[in-house]
């Protein structure tokens, strides 16, 4: 496990190197691109000094890495705030959204896959396969728009956009948690009513992936001798399925779930845009459009680091689920 953690180090260095180079790959003078045509010579020089662009490339990287180590990700050019502050403000919304989407995908995807595997070739299997196929083919942003059209607009259920309509304090930034802390059930209903459509939208692809993986993993396990033994000793089908087959089929499923996190953070870009949620995804898009490169750099770095960290956690979970990995 320690070795796996050490393997993360070159990846982290690589990620910082790539995000560092981002600003240097801009064709032309990045400072001019960022400040626009009307900037004065003094402004341009000041920003160039500020970003350290007047030094040699290796010097700049060392400077950048040293700053990152201190938690300093630079200043947003247009917002005039520290990038780390912007990220701290936006990340809770994104984490809340991705965790909710992953919960929906897992809770629906595993049973869907199990049923498809147990009743292989039946209409349930065909339905499950079709749902998976449509799930990976549907454009996430369009699904979000259609859900908005159907639910808030035609049926009057849930909300169009944002994270809450009621006013209450947000000490943690995680609105579900904040609503719970406020002690007022109305706040929680409000927050969940805002969260459900974006979370369902974002869950479409992971749900499809988890259902597919569960189906194939269960099919493999159900063909094993110990399942026949379990049936032969008189266990009910439910006991065989949930007690013997599913736990053994879990390892590839857990891996599939963990691997979805990277997708979810990417998909959050689309979902947050459709539902006007101020998360990291929307922050990146706005930063790209306003050519706020320190903000682009910081958000891309933060998301990539988060994905690498989750992958490490999944590997640890994997070892915990399967002792063969730990001792092998």
């Amino acid at each position: 496990m320690a070795r796996r953690s050490v393997e993360l180090i070159p990846v982290v260095i690589g990620i910082t190197l790539l995000t560092f180079l981002l600003i240097h790959m801009i064709p032309g003078d990045p400072v001019r691109v960022m400040l626009g045509e009307r900037a004065s010579a003094e402004q341009i020089d000041a920003l160039r000094r500020d970003l350290g662009l007047d030094r040699s490339l290796p010097e700049q990287y060392v400077h950048y890495a040293a700053r990152l180590a201190r938690g300093d990700m630079g200043q947003s050019i247009h917002r005039h705030t520290p990038v780390s502050e912007e990220l701290a403000r936006a990340f809770p919304a994104t984490i809340e959204l991705t965790v909710a989407a992953l919960c929906i995908a897992t809770v629906l995807g595993i049973p869907l896959g199990v049923v498809a595997a147990v009743r292989r070739g039946s209409w349930q299997d065909v339905l499950g396969t079709t749902v998976s196929l449509v799930g990976i083919s549907v454009p996430v942003f369009w699904l979000g728009l259609m859900l908005v059209l159907i639910f808030p607009y035609y049926l009057g259920w849930f909300f169009f956009s944002g994270r809450a309509s009621l006013e209450f304090s947000h000490p943690t930034g995680f609105y579900v948690l904040d609503a719970l802390l406020s002690g007022n059930p109305a706040n929680l209903v409000d927050v969940l009513g805002h969260l459900v459509l974006p979370a369902v939208t974002l869950s479409s692809v992971p749900l499809a992936m988890i259902a597919r993986m569960t189906r194939s993993s269960m099919l493999e396990v159900l063909g094993q001798d110990y399942i026949r033994t379990a049936r032969a000793k008189g266990l009910t089908e439910t006991q065989v399925l949930w007690g013997h087959a599913l736990p053994n089929a879990m390892i590839p499923i857990v891996t599939a779930i963990g691997l979805q996190f990277g997708y979810l953070l990417g998909g959050a870009v689309m979902t947050e845009t459709v539902f006007s949620i101020d998360g990291v995804g929307r922050l990146v898009v706005e930063a790209v459009k306003s050519r706020d490169y320190p903000l682009v750099q910081g958000s891309v770095l933060a998301i990539a680091l988060a994905v690498s960290l989750v992958n490490l956690l999944v590997d640890m979970l994997y070892a915990w689920l399967d002792p063969r990995v730990r001792y092998g």
Partner: protein
Amino acid sequence: MAESPLREVFRKLLQSIPFKLGALLLSGLVLAALLADAIAPYSYRDQDLSQRFQPPSFSSTEPGQAPHLLGTDNLGRDLFSRLIFGARISLVVGLLSVLISLLLGGLLGALAGYAGGWTDSVISRLFDLMLAFPSILLAIAIVSVLGEGLGNVMLAVGVVGIPIFGRQARASVLTTRELDYVQAARSLGAGPVRILFVHVLPNCLNPLIVLAALGVGTAVLDTAGLSFLGLGAKAPFPEWGTILADTYQFYKRAPWMVAFPGLSIMAMVLGCNLLGDGLRDVLDPRMAEKG
């Protein structure tokens, strides 16, 4: 008489339901894209403000004019015509970005697998690093460097696919280069370039073909997504994601303007995924078993 391998593949493909469904869906879209000038009743850019927000209809609103089958948009443009021209853009962009991923990824991966040693280490680490970023985010980062526009989005989506094709090519080359017939070619004095391109690579193509079919779908989806975010094609260019971005603010007044562009994207992606699944079952049975 024994069946030739190619005929056997075709026979199996024609028995595969996903392949047939995917091929049917895609051939419809390809045909529409090729014959767009003949099929589309209107131009994709001509505005007619007297015809704004017309709902889908089989009968024409003006005598002597073609009906607006899928309705019109906020500028009175015929949505059906715009979507048909859009199919052309999506197909071309999807195919070209996969070509970028396939050529660069395939070459780098093959080089890594065949050369081994530090070449392999450097290329493999580069692939790992690229895969550490969520694909759409990496594409956005590349677009932020190159600048907005459909061409740059296509390039970005292509670059993002490189490590996926690269890893597959590397894995296939690693197993193929140890096979007896390759050893035989080597002992007959064939050089490394000849061995790689004549003996090894042709036998690594199957999984890459499957990936390419699935990859076109992903590329279409990512391109539309980036255009939807306002980073790709610009109006009046009828790229499907751009159409959605331009019209979704009118969803209350004209829901068809939101529904049909999305359905078009989905049809194309679904077609690629079905085709890819069918190809995988036939060309790469080991991958198919893994689901």
